[in-house]
């Protein structure tokens, strides 16, 4: 039972992180390297999920992706499925909530890449994409990995947005935090504690790797 919850949680957190990384790299590049006009608006939008209560994010996702929501209608029309109260909804909720952490870390990492190296690559004939792929990303990779881990650990512990948007359906959308909540509700302290220990172990391993990466970045 614990194993299936753990596997679902890891799957949700992993996919949420993988969705976030390319978007976060693109937005970080626009904000840090291209210094786009109206960057302050984009920057604020990126950070917004950090400042909102997760339950509010879940509700907004419900409105957008619900059967009557604008995005929900489009998805239903194209794929013929309703994603609310499915594991995909849990992935989306986790992705949105963890997005600012991934993006912030990548922004810092990209900001630390010496601009002269990128200018040098351009003088050697590299276009914008080539510079991003061969200079910026390889030199910022530790920060990108650190951002991924931070996003992953945040996605693992996501609760408010997930319960609102994906529900708490055993075997379908019940991730570790929701299972802990469920056990607490049933006053099943033993199960709740076992699940909490699993959470602590995963979070500790992830954070240790994250901190090691950050330590190497600062050196």
């Amino acid at each position: 039972m614990h194993l299936s919850i753990l596997l679902l949680t890891l799957r949700v957190a992993l996919i949420a992180t993988l969705i976030n990384v390319p978007i976060a790299i693109a937005i970080s590049w626009l904000l840090v390297k291209k210094k786009v006009r109206f960057g302050i608006i984009l920057d604020t939008l990126v950070s917004l999920p950090l400042a909102l209560p997760p339950v509010a994010i879940g509700f907004l996702l419900l409105l957008a992706f619900g059967r009557e929501g604008p995005l929900g209608k489009i998805i239903n029309l194209i794929v013929g499925v309703d994603i609310v109260f499915t594991w995909i909804a849990a992935v989306l909720a986790s992705a949105v909530v963890s997005f600012p952490l991934v993006t912030r870390s990548i922004m810092v990492a990209m900001g630390n890449v010496d601009e002269q190296l990128e200018m040098s690559a351009r003088s050697l004939g590299a276009g914008t994409w080539k510079v991003l792929l061969t200079i910026t990303i390889p030199l910022a990779y530790r920060g990108i990995l650190a951002g991924m881990l931070l996003g992953f650990v945040r996605a693992l512990s996501e609760f408010g947005a997930t319960i609102t948007f994906a529900g708490n359906i055993v075997g379908k959308t019940q991730t570790l935090p929701l299972a802990i909540y469920h056990s607490v509700q049933l006053r099943d302290d033993s199960t709740a504690l076992q699940l909490i220990i699993i959470c602590i172990v995963i979070a500790t391993i992830t954070l240790v790797i994250h901190n090691r990466l950050l330590g190497k970045m600062k050196r």
């Binding site: 010496d114 190296l117 200018m119 351009r122 003088s123 050697l124 276009g127």
Partner: protein, 230 residues
């Protein structure tokens, strides 16, 4: 045919600083000099396309590289210029060999006029190729940076204070290499320096910039005498 290589008439504003320059570079080695903060680096960043001027026009061999009127801005990777930075700007995640190959691989085969083997021989860097760039001395770094830039067979080479971080011995040896680059490959250069004396033996022409404006154009000898008198 006119000797005019590069001509420009541009303005660029940065907060309180305003660059307002008009000049023609002739074929050869030109030294661009002026005090710190006079706008030397801003000017070459505009000429190489790294920074877009606010207004004006830049022409290279008669072709427009930038024109505010025509809303044209040729990106740096398409200008065919080499650029050697003060701190070498070698890619730290690549070996010396990969650094040198980086631009060579990006140069279309029909435009490759300089062989990598001749550069390795000229700069005497065959023993450095497998080395990590972090293990190189200042002089070795600048030799690799020069070789890397020349590997793209540039039509014009910009050097932004390439000797300022080097000791006297390394400075002298790099100057010898620059002399050989001019002799062997005939690539015109624009050499940015605080002082003309640093490259007086090599430069033919000089531009002196002060407070964002060009205050002298002429031969390097004239500029050197003028600097000596002030």
């Amino acid at each position: 045919m006119s000797d005019e290589l590069l001509s420009f008439n541009i303005t660029k504003k940065y907060l309180a600083f305003k660059l307002e320059c008009q000049a023609n570079y002739e074929y050869g080695i030109t030294v661009l000099t002026g005090p710190t903060g006079s706008g030397k680096t801003t000017l070459i960043n505009c000429l190489t396309g790294m920074v877009m001027p606010d207004q004006g026009e830049i022409k290279f061999l008669g072709n427009i590289l930038y024109s505010s009127l025509q809303k044209k801005h040729v990106p740096p990777e398409k200008r065919g210029f080499g650029y050697v930075f003060q701190n070498s700007a070698l890619f730290p995640h690549m070996s010396v060999w990969k650094n040198i190959k980086y631009g060579y691989d990006l140069t279309p085969p029909q435009k490759r006029q300089i062989k990598l083997s001749s550069l390795i021989e000229l700069f005497e860097i065959s023993g450095l190729l497998e080395r990590d760039v972090s293990t190189l001395s200042g002089g070795e770094r600048q030799k690799v940076a020069l070789a890397r830039s020349l590997a793209t067979s540039p039509q014009l080479l910009f050097l932004d204070e390439p000797l300022s971080a080097l000791d006297k011995t390394s400075k002298n040896s790099i100057l010898v290499y620059l002399k050989r680059v001019w002799k062997d490959f005939n690539i015109p250069m624009i050499y940015v320096s605080h002082s003309i004396s640093e490259i007086s033996a090599l430069a033919q022409n000089a531009l002196v910039i002060s407070d964002g404006k060009i205050i002298f154009t002429g031969t390097a000898t004239e500029a050197f005498q003028k600097e000596g008198n002030t």
